[in-house]
Every structure is written in C-alpha cells, then in structure tokens.
C-alpha cells in the first residue's frame, strides 16, 4: 500500500496528556480512491493529512509512505514524498506570492527539479486542464477573484504531477458556481487519471456525491473507515459521531415516513431519490 499507518500516535507537544491522534491504522492506495475525511473541529483531520505527506512526523508507531519508513528525526529525504503527495491547505489563495499567475503555477515544478522550459509546459498544460484562460496567465494573482485565485493555487499543486491529491476543505467560502466547478474538476481528474483524491470536508453532499470511502475521526481516533453508504445507513452510529445525513437523504427519510416511497438503502443523491420515486410510482 502506498500510505500505511500502523499504530501511529501523534502529539504536538510531549507534555500533552492526550494524543492529538491516537492509534491510527490506515492504508491508502495511490489509485482509484476518492476519500472524504469527516469529523468535528478539533478531531484531528488536518493533523492526519499533514502526516500523510510527512509535513509533521509521527510521535510513535510506524508510518510508511511509498515504501519509505518515516522516522521521528530530522534530515531524512522527504522531498520525493512531498512531490508525490500534493497537499492543498484551507484558503490556499492566501499562499500565492509570485508576480504572475504563470510563475506561481511554475514554482512547484521548478522547485522539484524541472528546467524552466519543462516547468512552463507543465504549468500551461495544468492551466488548460483547470480552465484558467490564457489572458490570466500574465496577470498578478492578487487581482483575481477569490474563485480564480483558488484555481491558481490548486494548479500550482497539480503542476508538480503528484500521485495523490489532498485538499483541506476546498469549497469553503466559494459561491455555488465556484464550488460546483471545483468539485467537477476534482471528479474529472479522478476519473481520467485514476489518482487518489482525499478531501477533508463538513459537507455531507460531497461525501454522498463524490467519495467512495469515508474516514471519520472523533477526538483523535478513527471511528469509521468504509463506504459512505454504510455510514449513512447506520443512523445510530451517525448520531454517535454527531454527523448528519446528506440533505437529499433527509428528504427521502421524510417521504418514507409519510408512506410516499420505500427503499432498503437510503438514497444519497438526487438521481437515486428520483429513481426511487419514479420506480415506486410506476410499479
């Protein structure tokens, strides 16, 4: 497996009484996974993804990333891991700093060893994939709209061609159009390249509509790791994790309670509920 956590514990400070992450066991493949990480503020979600690209190091336990054992020491070669696992922070637009959009996108590839010509080509290809139009490339990133800035920041990570892409709450603060565009883009990258995508989110609609695996954290522990549908079909478990059903599933529950529809497994998306309604009424 490409990322492998075995009994990993993590504390920010040795004096901390309770681990920020506790006994984490997790394997992630670089292909075909679309993972959502859920949990309340302070449950350890951001800490977990920072371990995944060795931005922070485990306090104890074994963490292997692309067959390299990550040790609790400085001076170990981590650049290759950082290149292969792209991490996009919350509000990534705050981290733009170059004079032009093109230079900002090129920064990663240059830093990871491509020459200027190759880096430029890579940046141009990525800009095209993401839908950043040519006339923006020579503009200063600071004059763009919020949604455009975020696209540029994401292009900067994609241009290094990582094997796994991790996003910390990528849609917060975007308007509905920006949100939809970004999610369709991630979905497209996932479908075309089969790269694994990992998203931290509070939005159950993203969980239901895009991911094929969900990991739920509670107080530093993994309390669920499996298919979203198995999470949403277990009402008691959901409540114990303080999670809600996706909006469309709550609508379905109400319709079922009113005797209007019936189903074995709760519909998670608009299309599933539509099929459920039209199927039932056609019978």
């Amino acid at each position: 497996m490409d990322i492998n956590f075995q009994h990993v514990n993590f504390k920010y400070d040795k004096k901390q009484k309770i681990n920020t992450l506790n006994d984490i066991n997790l394997t992630i493949s670089k292909e075909n996974e679309f993972i959502t990480i859920l949990g309340h503020t302070g449950s350890g979600k951001s800490t977990l993804v920072q371990l995944m690209n060795a931005l922070i190091l485990p306090t104890s336990g074994s963490l292997t990333i692309f067959n390299q054992e990550i040790k609790q020491k400085r001076n170990q070669p981590l650049k290759e891991i950082r290149k292969r696992i792209g991490l996009v922070f919350q509000f990534p637009e705050y981290q733009l700093f170059e004079e032009t959009v093109l230079k900002d996108i090129m920064f990663g590839p240059v830093n990871f060893g491509l020459n200027m010509e190759q880096a430029k080509q890579q940046a141009l290809d990525t800009a095209k994939l993401i839908g950043i139009s040519d006339d923006l490339l020579e503009r200063a990133p600071f004059n763009l709209s919020g949604g455009q800035k975020r696209k540029v920041a994401i292009a900067g990570i994609l241009a290094s061609n990582p094997d796994i892409l991790i996003f910390d709450e990528p849609t917060v603060g975007l308007d509905p159009k920006g949100k939809k565009e970004l999610l369709s883009l991630l979905d497209k990258i996932h479908k075309e390249t089969h790269k694994t995508i990992i998203i931290i989110t509070h939005d159950m609609n993203i969980v239901a509509n895009y991911s094929n695996r969900s990991i739920v954290l509670k107080e530093g522990n993994i309390v669920f790791d499996g298919k979203p549908i198995d999470l949403f079909n277990n009402k008691t478990m959901l409540q114990s994790m303080n999670l809600d059903l996706p909006y469309i599933s709550r609508v379905a529950e109400n319709l079922k309670a009113a005797g209007k529809i019936n189903y074995k497994s709760v519909p998670l998306t608009l299309d599933e509920l539509y099929d459920c309604i039209t199927g039932d009424l056609n019978e």
Partner: protein, 266 residues
C-alpha cells in the same frame, strides 16, 4: 424601516459600473434576502443603505424621506449590522462586555444595560456563556454573540452581511435558526445578504443580483423554482426543487406537494 432605491447607479472613480440602475423597495418589518454570486455588487448595496457610499445617480429613500448627507446619521443609528468574519468584531474580554460595548457607547443606564444583555443573550441562547472569553467560542457561537450585541441596541433594522459564509455547516445551521426565530419574535426589518440559497427560504422577499443589476425579485418559492435564472446568475437552487422540476408529470402531483412542504420546513 422602509428602504427604497430609485434608479441607483454606483461606481468608484474611473471604474466600470458596480451597480446599474437598481430599483427596489424593502418594506418595514419584513425580511428581505439579497442573493448573488461573489463580486455581484451585494455588499455595495449594504454600503449604500448605510450611507457609507453615496449613489452616483438615482435616489435612496428611507421611511419615504430622501436620504442626504444631513439626515443619514439619524437613519444610521437605527441600523445594526453583522459582518462576515466573527473574529473581526470582538472588542470585549467576556461575552458580557462584548454585548455591553454598544450600549456603553450609547450611555445606557446600568440597570437597563443588564436587562438588555440578559434579554438578548437569552434570545440567541448564549446566556450561559456571559463570562466566557469570546475567543474560545465556536464560529457559530461567536456570530450569535455578535447578533446579541447588535440586537441589544434595539435598532429598527438589522443587516446580516454574509454572516454565515465563513462558518462550518453547524455554525450555518445555528445562525439560520437564530434568523428564523428573530423573524418570528421581533418585528424588525431584516436584510440578509448571502450566496447561500437556503437562507432565502424564510424571507418575505428576495432580490437576485448579478453583474450589478437586479435580475429577479419576488417570493422565495418563485425564485427557487426558476432554476435556469439562478444558474445564469452563478447560483444554484435547492435539491428538492431540482427534483420537483424533474417530476413534471401530473401523476407526481402529491409527492411534489410534499417536496415543497419539506423544502420550507425541514
């Protein structure tokens, strides 16, 4: 407080129009949502209402009186505003101090101040946090404290300027509940500026704004139903309404009626 815009146009110097020929009426005691994508001109409208900006052309009337530089202050003291970022609006070391801040500025007498703090902290369900440091509260709790502070001033109008856009879904839910309750209990004029479609559900009226012009105004149900108009404005309707639009055959009448009820009551 009644607000009326008549053919208002606004731009900053040497720039293109931010708002072009805007006309609308906000009735006293009603809740109006102004919805539009990022950069559509929503916040410029707020600044014009508050008299922070003045129109390049057109007129603004408040309570049927033309707003001028001379009378804007009389109106402005009847307006309260809740901003986007809860962290930028705290001044007190405790929740109580914070709610008291505006009242102190108004030189309200101490006993009356205590009554007001008590009343409005209860209204937003933050009365058990009066001695807490606001910094340690969640985003939704911080915004509720900010709301209590504004309500305690007992202004005729309250403006929510993207008050939920930086909150997580739990925080958004808390503020939506507070807004709903405010609308029921207080006979205030409320303006909610948002790009979150769910916030328009319990409004009396909705203005949809895009590229500096009003592209639609009406009741929430009519606005929600117009999926293509919302899409053109870079917005999205609620999922139940998308479903309703797909279930156009008359045999689905009963379930469509259920879906409308759920849209407004869930």
């Amino acid at each position: 407080m009644k607000i009326e815009f008549r053919n208002v146009t606004f731009k900053y110097e040497d720039d293109c129009d931010l708002l072009t020929d805007i006309s609308f009426v906000i009735n006293s005691g009603e809740m109006t949502s102004i919805i539009g994508p990022n950069g559509s001109g929503k916040s410029t409208i707020t600044k014009l209402i508050m008299g922070i900006l003045t129109p390049l052309s057109g007129e603004i009337y408040i309570n049927n009186t033309l707003v001028t530089e001379d009378n804007i202050n009389d109106f402005r003291c009847q307006m309260g505003i809740i901003f986007q970022n809860p962290d930028n609006q705290f001044v007190g070391l405790t929740v109580k101090d914070d709610i008291a801040f505006g009242l102190e500025n108004k030189q309200i007498e101490r006993n009356e101040m205590i009554t007001l703090i008590d009343k409005y902290s209860k209204l937003v369900h933050m009365n058990n946090f009066l001695n807490h440091n606001p910094e340690n509260l969640s985003g939704g709790q911080k915004q509720r404290v900010a709301i209590a502070g504004v309500l305690a001033m007992e202004t005729e109008m309250v403006i929510f300027d993207e008050a939920t856009s930086m909150l997580d879904p739990i925080g958004v839910d808390e503020i939506n509940k507070t807004l709903k309750m405010l609308k029921k209990q207080a006979s205030k004029t409320i303006i909610s500026i948002t790009h979150n479609i769910e916030e328009i559900l319990y409004s009396d009226n909705v203005l949809v704004i895009n590229n500096g012009t009003i592209v639609a105004q009406g009741k929430p149900k009519d606005i929600l139903f117009n999926e293509s108009l919302l899409n053109e404005a870079g917005l999205d309707t609620i999922e139940t309404v998308k479903l309703i639009n797909k279930l156009s055959d008359s045999k689905y009448e009963s379930i469509v009626s259920d879906l409308w009820t759920l849209t407004f009551n869930m």
